[in-house]
């Protein structure tokens, strides 16, 4: 190896250590894809639930003149809430599995200073947003829940992108943009939800996988 190559590889090492010590780089594109698929499945179930509800509500109104719609609505929202929670947990677990696998492959520890920093920075805006949205639900303002999820999630991702692969910020921008547009189409939350958490995650995951993991 000549002198120039030696110095170049030294510079390369320096850059790599700076990256590795300040950013969590094991985040796998496959995690994005799997989370996106979970979200799409969740959105499909939610859509079916709403359709069923519309049908039964019509039947109910016919027979009872709408006496029990409040109980029905409560049932609907608790069912949708459960679907959302299950979707969130499966998405979290599946994305963890792929990122864990990647950390094994690249031989970087899954838990360390960088992972902790990433987690704190994504969690704080999301927990704040979650509490805010629960308060909205408590006050019966259901329409703002879907755009709120997208907005707060986008802010969390954008905030966390400083501590992981830098392209992650585009996912954050995308979610924020969808959330903002959704504010003007309040009834269509589920479609925006599927686009933001489903399709956008899959696009992001494919891109990251293609860029960092293909070979």
């Amino acid at each position: 190896m000549n002198e120039s190559e030696k110095l170049s590889s030294e510079l390369h090492d320096i850059k790599q250590i700076m990256e590795r010590s300040s950013r969590f780089i094991s985040l796998s594109g496959l995690s994005g894809i799997s989370a996106g698929i979970c979200a799409l499945i969740g959105a499909w179930f939610s859509n079916e639930t709403i359709k069923d509800y519309d049908l039964s509500a019509v039947n109910l109104r016919r027979s009872l003149h709408g006496a029990d719609t409040i109980a029905q609505a409560y049932f609907l929202y608790s069912r949708l809430f459960n679907i959302a929670i299950i979707t969130f947990i499966t998405a979290l677990i599946s994305s963890f599995i792929f990122t864990y696998r990647r950390s094994k492959k690249t031989n970087t520890p899954i838990w360390g200073t960088t992972a902790r920093r990433l987690l704190i920075n994504v969690t704080v805006p999301m927990v704040a947003g979650g509490i805010f949205l629960l308060a909205l639900i408590n006050n019966g303002i259901i329409g703002f829940v879907a755009p709120g999820c997208l907005l707060f999630y986008g802010l969390g991702v954008l905030n966390a992108s400083k501590y992981t692969l830098p392209e992650t910020r585009y996912l954050g921008y995308g979610e924020i943009l969808l959330g903002l547009i959704n504010l003007f189409f309040i009834g269509d939350g589920l479609y925006f939800w599927a686009a933001g958490f489903g399709i956008l995650h899959i696009l992001y995951g494919v891109f990251m996988w293609w860029k960092y993991e293909m070979n």
Partner: protein, 99 residues
């Protein structure tokens, strides 16, 4: 023109020391174990290079505890940051001149 090789710092003439300084440039402080994992060296090896950097005044050591376990934090001093930057600039210049 001055030869940029003169600006290369002898203290940084080791991959491990370069690694330690690189990590400390982008982090406010790092503990011993994280540093060890990052650079992939043995305890003894890392400790001796840390000592050399410390003696040059390039890094400072802060001993603390997490519960009962010792937790030693390292961070770069102003002198260390400046010296490392000069070294990097020199490296870059040399490579540019070679190509």
């Amino acid at each position: 023109m001055k030869n940029p090789i003169e600006n290369l710092n002898k203290t940084f003439d080791s991959r491990i020391r370069l690694g330690i300084m690189s990590a400390l440039m982008v982090n406010a402080s790092i503990n011993f174990n994280d540093l060890k994992e990052l650079i992939n060296v043995t305890d003894g090896n890392l400790a001796s290079h840390i000592k050399a950097l410390e003696e040059n005044g390039y890094i400072k050591v802060q001993k603390g505890f997490i519960g009962r376990k010792t937790n030693t934090l390292y961070s770069a001093t102003k002198t260390g940051e400046k010296a490392f930057r000069t070294h990097l600039d020199a490296l870059e210049k040399i490579i540019k001149n070679m190509n």
